[in-house]
Symmetry: C2
Subunit: 722 residues, 2 copies
């Protein structure tokens, strides 16, 4: 919005702007512009425009000047006139930082008339555009020229505060307020952030993928054991090549997690998000040497060694890592503005639900605080990885006969029951979807190659080394020679070429019906226990990886039999429960009408559905993801943003077929996409009843759903059952 001045066009205008005519148009294709468009999802095909007009000059002496400003504080949202200016300067000088500009309030003293005009103009601009303005101006020999105005960028907290205050001022409606905040911006209200000023002074040592948002500052630890030990003395950041289920305790005690490999849905990323721990993954410049307790870092041409105990600061929202101890700023998610704003969002969201993925009572309580209306996914296997449980799990797996296996399962039963009871209590009155055992059994055993190496080393190992091995495997030194080959044999029996497509999910439950039976018993015994306390319990038992309705029939029969047994023994026959399935392989989607005859609900496991539909392993995709995204073969990482053109078609097909067979079929999503705004919008559009995501993304999903509902308003309502 440049003002036409009517003055003669100066010969040197373009030179002064330091732009050739070509540069004006080429600027569309600078790496910075391309990166920005990709970030903001602006198509490359729009092209740039150039206005040619007369120049005004702020460098004509002391009655001239230039400045930039906002009608409200873009960091906090507070309604104050905000900005800075320079006397006798051109616009570039303000930005370049050669001279230090003055706060804009001081303009009132320096050029009172210009200041009065500026306030008047910007106030009416804000009213006209009904939004906070970001403006630029130049004063040429006492005359004010407005160079530009646009809706101002703002932080998450500022966006929420400004939106709420503008409604209170009568400037905008509640509906507009809800549309004013980008859902992902809420992240900044839910997590601490690195102090912007202090961060500038620190050395950046790596960039990776922003796997779990927020800031984490601590001393580097290179193994979970070290992290546990060091965490007693102060904050720790766990730095690993990659994490495995064995690292749960280390991740739990760490402020943040940093890995060298893995994608946005790698183990580290998924678990960290679930725990609400900031996490950066796939920071490929880092090479971790666990044994030497250090990491070699090669970043932007510089090599350095990160030693155990060195301070590092993670930004999980941007995927950046800094050397040193940065200050962090804590957010206040319970603030008045946030509560009011989310209340409005929920009004528009209507009956479309938002649940949380939570495996333990602590996460379930967190999820309730963030407004989750139930648990959409409890991954029961996460309960087995705890240190006091994994030996029983391993005993179950190593069992060569039914009796031994049942004995091990009996030990797990009370533990599972206790976990489930905690979840039901936290979710009083809201449904809890519990998935039966999903991962392949070898995930609970030591790694094959480690065993092979240890067996090869054993004959040459010294006594210290042997002791270490014995401790690792939980046997005596003398037993190693017999135990290791036996363990390897079982690991090899269970070895899979493609674990993702292997003996897991309901395939386990079908071949080991005892496991499903134990889990069903734990679920319903917990339900009865909690219901007797007067808590309203709504269990939904979910059978994973179903591809054929016969698989569901098989597992449902076990669940229903145990449920009837437990409920009638406890005289709780009117406790209503549901049995349903995850839709996570294409065959299930293609035969969803058959499956819906047995399934009382569907939940789309879009992580695995993306892997199978695209024939793309999420853990292996990172090897070529950069090239794929640079060549624009994929619009975005399909594990972060639902691939609506491909996977979305499969989902839509399944929803239609399922509802055709069972009109009141409850349909939701529990994959990582359940907390990603554009995917939430898709889920709303195809008629799902709810989305489920990690607790810390629940507010984001609530807002995204509200915006989808507003966008959809007036269109024919799709069938929805909740």
């Amino acid at each position: 919005m440049k003002k036409e001045t009517g003055k003669e066009f100066p010969q040197n205008a373009l030179e002064q702007l330091n732009l050739s005519r070509d540069a004006v148009f080429n600027s569309w294709n600078t790496p910075k512009a391309i990166y920005y468009r990709r970030m903001e999802k602006i198509p490359d095909s729009i092209g740039t425009a150039a206005n040619v007009q007369a120049m005004v000059f702020g460098n004509m002496g002391d009655r001239s000047g230039t400045g930039v400003g906002f009608t409200r504080n873009p960091s906090t949202g507070e309604k104050v006139f905000y900005g800075e200016f320079l006397v006798n300067a051109q616009g570039e000088d303000v930005v370049a930082g050669i001279r230090t500009p003055q706060p804009i309030a001081e303009l009132e003293q320096v050029m009172p008339e210009a200041y009065r005009q500026l306030r008047e103009i910007t106030t009416s601009l804000e009213k006209h555009y009904r939004d906070m303005q970001d403006f630029e101006f130049t004063i040429e020999e006492g005359t004010l020229y407005m160079l530009q105005t646009r809706n101002g960028k703002r932080t998450g907290p500022a966006a929420v505060r400004a939106a709420v205050e503008m409604v209170e001022e009568g400037l905008i409606s509640k509906k507009e307020a809800v549309q004013r905040v980008a859902p992902n911006q809420l992240d900044q209200l839910l997590h601490p952030v690195l102090d912007p000023a202090m961060r500038k002074g620190l050395q950046k040592i790596a960039t990776g993928l922003p796997a779990s948002p927020g800031a984490a500052v601590g001393r580097a630890a290179f193994s979970s054991e070290d992290a546990v030990e060091m965490s007693a003395k102060g904050p720790v950041v766990l730095v690993r090549k990659e994490t495995t289920p064995d690292d749960i305790h280390g991740m739990d005690v760490s402020r943040g997690i940093l890995t060298a490999v893995g994608g946005l849905t790698s183990h580290a990323a998924v678990v960290a998000r679930g725990m609400g721990r900031p996490c950066v993954v796939g920071a490929s410049s880092i090479s971790v040497d666990e044994a030497k307790k250090l990491a070699t870092i090669l970043f932007e041409g510089k090599k350095l060694i990160l030693k155990e105990g060195d301070w590092i600061s993670l930004d999980g929202t941007l995927g950046e890592v800094y050397l040193g101890q940065c200050k962090t700023n804590e957010p206040d998610p319970k603030s008045h503005d946030f509560a009011v704003f989310m209340g409005w969002a929920d009004e528009f969201r209507g009956k479309f639900g938002v649940r949380a993925n939570a495996d333990i009572p602590r996460d379930a309580n967190q999820a309730r605080l963030f407004g989750a209306e139930g648990i959409g996914l409890c991954r029961t296997e996460h309960m087995f990885f705890a240190e006091d449980r994994i030996p029983h799990m391993q005993a179950m797996i190593l069992a060569r006969d039914e009796k031994t296996r049942k004995k091990a399962l009996q030990k797990l039963l009370p533990m599972q029951r206790k976990d489930f009871a905690g979840l039901f209590e936290a979710m009083n009155g809201f449904p809890v979807v519990i998935r039966t055992l999903d991962p392949p059994l070898h995930e609970f055993l030591p790694k094959r190659e480690n065993l092979m190496v240890d067996i090869a080393k054993l004959p040459h190992a010294g006594s210290k080394e042997k002791k270490q091995m014995a401790a690792t495997y939980g046997v005596g030194v003398g037993e190693l020679k017999k135990h290791l080959p036996e363990l390897l044999h079982r690991v090899e029996e269970l070895h899979e070429f493609n674990p993702m497509l292997g003996h897991r999910g309901c395939r386990l439950g079908i071949t080991y019906p005892d496991v499903t039976e134990m889990q069903a018993r734990a679920i319903f015994e917990a339900a009865v226990l909690v219901a007797k306390k007067g808590v309203k319990v709504i269990p939904e038992v979910m059978i994973p990886l179903v591809g054929d309705v016969k698989e569901l029939e098989n597992q449902k029969a076990i669940v229903v039999r145990v449920a009837e047994e437990v409920l009638s023994a406890a005289k709780q026959k009117d406790l209503k429960y549901y049995v349903g399935t995850m839709i996570e392989i294409p065959r299930a989607a293609m035969t969803a009408d058959e499956i819906a005859k047995e399934a009382e609900f569907f939940s789309f496991g879009t992580n695995d559905l993306t892997q199978t539909t695209m024939g793309l392993s999420r853990d292996d995709y990172t090897k070529f993801s950069k090239q794929y995204e640079a060549l624009k073969i994929f619009k975005a990482d399909p594990f972060a943003v639902l691939d609506q053109d491909g996977v979305g078609k499969v989902v839509e097909h399944a929803v239609k077929l399922g509802r055709k067979a069972r009109p009141d079929l409850e349909v939701g999503i529990c994959g990582e996409h359940g907390g990603e705004p554009s995917s939430v919008e898709f889920c709303y559009r195809v008629g799902m009843d709810y989305v489920s995501c990690s607790p810390y993304r629940v507010p984001i999903a609530r807002l995204a759903a509200a915006q989808a509902a507003i966008a959809d308003h007036g269109k024919a309502e799709v069938q929805r059952t909740a």
Copy 2:
């Protein structure tokens, strides 16, 4: 067809039959009956029936007797009166084998009148049913009673001969003749069989999956190196835990292949079928110790040791293994009957094509002999596993820069060109579909765990062991210490969690465009070379694992650019070629309309499409396949018989979408299912233009297609382009 006799019903009739009333009905559920139904695909729900009627007795003295017979020889099909009888005996006695029956011709001397009647009746029965009859009779005091007649079971050769002769006799039409032979029966005309009499005397030592049909007899070898060495002195059977691409040379010199693990689409199975080598896989009673050159076998409670050099006999059609050297009977696929019969089949098959999967000129020539009308799949990577090529392939993979990589590719170019030229020559006038590089690169490198173990062993290894290692890795002893960790590093870089869903197919071509370029150059240089000899060359370049049309665009651009360069340099611009894709991941099927805008043909890779659609790894499925099939969750092994209810829906959807976008889209199948009769029928029904299968299954596919066409006759013809 039991005759009512009008006599009083004898009290002891059921007892004489050794059947209680319950037993009559329970016999439906004996394991034998269930097994038979599963084999013959008869539903379990039909139930059994029982006739109650008077008994006749063949054991009333010398004027009585009983017998069974066929109107033609069921082994050869020859038109002779065939069967046997016993004087003074009941039916059970003939079957039980307590007394040795006489040939039926001798009945003419013993009871001339009964014999005359029997010939008369059975001749008119054959005329009435218009098929060879399998009958039972009893003579009670001179009176002939027919107990039963039915269409006789027959061997493959007999089925073909009888069908051809019955047409010549005017008994049936050509169309009926074509319907009379089950396609899989043709296997017996294409492969040697173990001599039935001699086989009875041998000890069965294992059963596995019938991976590739035919009989193979040879001395056991437990490594490919040993197989090569031993094959100079006599026939060898290769016995391995499983095979890998490194075993190609060993498989090539062996008469048959036996593996302890793996399913019907494991490496051993696929490659053996391609080579036409009999193969039994997943014989889990066998435990191979490669180092000790022996296998421990635990079969039906007996333990034995199979040593290198021991003779074994494989039946790849039934999946059985015998200890000892069995005689084999050679078939004659070029016989008059077979040629006539296949000619009739082709008449009915019409324009629906049958191509072969063939990677090398020898297989292509074999395929032509069996009537293949083109190559539906040439897997170019198989050409890289040869001993003289794999070093260049490995150099290409280990290359850290483009220049080194290009140098390695340059060495592979002339080799590929020569192979392609051979295929084009063999297929003069028929299309040749060549797939660009598909498997992940780590398949061309040593195994990670072997490397890890060798690195762990190296410091303690003696000089002999070191020499052995050095030979394995193709470096000097002194280089091992440096080379092994470097190699491991690259192998680890390339390690994938789920190779099936990893960095392979067009994803390789996109990240290493040089490879696609080299392959395209080899293809078109070979095409030009061969075309100049006057051979008609029709290259179809197939891009694998496409999930998004942009992937195909990327690879097609390289192929078209190279093609235009090569063809115009050779002044062969009118040589027509096609670029298309494999449909093998669900996303491709769901977006087939988009993909068909770029693809000139589709070929369904139903092996991988089954894996991705069902979320089921073919190599890991064997772990629980027995339980799944026993519980009837799957009707059949989905990697052998196309899952029409699930994967079939995906295929059908893709054919429809593809033809909508490009009506003349050529559509075929190149997965293992292309040679399985019920799957061929499916392919015909959904409107494909052709099926492609291993050379030895080409006649089976031709017959299955003919039968599908006959069944379909009169129904509206689906759109087909060929």
